[in-house]
Amino acid sequence: MMERTTLARTTSIWIIAILLLFILSVVLGIIMRLSQGGVISQSPVVFYSQMTTHGFTMIGIWFVAGMVGVNYLMQRYVSAPVKSNIFALLFTIIGVVLLWVTTFVGKFHTGWTFLYPLPFKIAWAGWATPLFFVSLTILGVGWLVWSVSLLMAIFKKYSITRALAWQHFGKNPSFETPPFILITVITLIGVITCLLAAVLLIVLFFAEYFSSGTFVNDPLLMKNLTYFFGHTIANEMLYLGLATLYELFPEVSGRPKWKTTWYVALAWNCTLVFILTAFFHHMYMDFVQPESFQIVGQVASYLASLPAAVVTVFSVLTLIYRNSIRWSLTNVLYFMGVAGWVIGGLGAVIDATITNNLVLHNTLWVPAHFHTYNAMGNVLFSLAFFNWAANRFAGIGESGGANRLKIALLLVGGTGFLLMFYLGGAYSIPRRFNIYPMEFSLAASFARIAAVFAAVYLAAVLIFFWDILRKCLKLLTYSR
């Protein structure tokens, strides 16, 4: 039975748009690795414009991908917002188009961290700096309205304490909060908090831009705000993916639904706190930052990984271990995604240890670990949801066969291209270098090998795209 609601249609448009942007951004990534490998020659301006586009687009699309999944599945429990979803879709499209105009036409190239005061040291078209902040404002408004409306939809049915599952701390709770609702609420609170930090950051940038020199910002404060926003959103988007996993994984596997227990409630409530303080680990190498923040950073980074990861990994592994499982592409992707998330998390915890950070910070170890839990973790969570949703939209069931090639390409391509990053990090090769100095004799070879493996990963993504696109189009063209 084909589902023909407005939410389903909007979701399918999101899925197509996200995958298209993903393919383009992976291509940019491959081009950058080819350029670093000396296979093609690019000017620094072109390289760094691409790097900026790649970073922003990837963060943006996988954040909205998580939101799309959560918004769609929410209709099982509450009346899911549709208007704010469409509003966010329009604002995201406008924001992304303007952003790509600033980077590709205006040659704006600050990297996605746009650390103050780099956006003001204009080495690009003069209009690109204000337009860049306008595009961020548009994205921020769209996403803020969307996240708030999702949260409000939940609060209409669940009181705040029930949404946070606090009744599970007492004995024999009379009411059970579904894990999906708990995780979604915890994550959305974090998302809204970091989007508000982004608003403040953008306001401060605008204030200085329009003050003609009478108002100057504090670089340390701006850096803290940047990473509070940037780190937190990059983490929360993973948890949005996890929310869909909690909802779909047992169901697709043909196992009983997970229940919220006191330790699940406690783990996720703790995560809310730790995730908002872990960003300090981005500032370890700023020795002027108060030392207490640095220590909080290391402890929170360790703890942030514990509750959510332990509870989720245990739940997933014990659900499968020696049980009869109905394997399909959806739960295989979720399963692999959890493994990728854990492995990337290990790389992250190693880097979040201050003594290690001294010799790893801003080497290729950094893209190594965040590409692991994104490309082999979060992306797979979202692909799992996309695959499940597309099947639903097309009115077909989960199929088991013909997926081995996709999975093999993803695994081989992903592992190879990530390994080159880790090796680069261990060889102290700096990140964000458009060309490698002669001293790093292996760097260009690593980049070339990575490009080949990333192309294999891309091949898998293209097959996914084709398959999902056909199913989504079936829904979108149905009425005609």
Partner: protein, 187 residues
């Protein structure tokens, strides 16, 4: 690759392999006849609790062992015998034995340090954020601190090996980020 980097890489690869093995093992175990209770909870609470406690304890021990070795506390009880002032600017490093200012731009000064002496680098930037990364003769990153406008980061270090050390930029600072470099000598 330095010993420390090699240790980190091997540790990571072993842990990653362990995770992969566990996941593959669990995957292969599925499909067998169901042997677990169907309440959707899996492991019992006591088992989970002990595992969680063990992991937390391990991480706390690891944290209490590593945090005191953080660069902020390196040689904090000693006073440096040598101060090197560092001012970063798009796209060059100025290193000087004297404070850098309008009277002393600091560029072009050859810095020579003694083996084993305690050096304090006072690092700042005159424009955007840069990263002051020190590389040894084998191109291993041995220490770093950020160069931030308006602030001075103090990095204390003792160089044990003589040779020429390179300074590379480790924070993206614009077009010529990859070629922004300097060097100093340790005798």
């Amino acid at each position: 690759m330095s010993d420390k980097h090699e240790f980190i890489l091997v540790l990571f690869l072993l842990l990653a392999a362990l995770v992969a093995i566990v996941f593959v093992y669990v995957y292969l175990s599925s499909g067998a006849k169901s042997s677990q209770k169907e309440d959707g909870k899996g492991l019992n609470n006591t088992q989970r609790f002990w595992f969680f406690l063990l992991l937390t304890a391990a991480l706390f021990i690891f944290a209490s062992f590593t945090i005191p070795k953080s660069p902020y506390y390196l040689f904090e009880k000693e006073s440096p015998s040598r101060v090197v002032f560092v001012a970063a600017q798009q796209y060059y490093w100025a290193l000087s034995s004297e404070a850098i200012g309008p009277g002393n731009p600091g560029a072009g000064e050859a810095i020579e340090l003694k083996r084993g002496e305690l050096v304090e680098f006072r690092v700042t930037s005159l424009d955007v954020n840069h990263g002051f990364g020190i590389y040894d003769e084998s191109n291993n990153l041995i220490a770093q601190t950020q160069a931030m406008p308006g602030y001075v980061n103090r990095l204390r270090w003792k160089f044990e090996k003589p040779g020429t050390y390179k300074v590379l930029c480790l924070e993206f600072c614009g077009l010529a980020h990859a070629v922004m470099r300097a060097s100093f000598t340790v005798r």
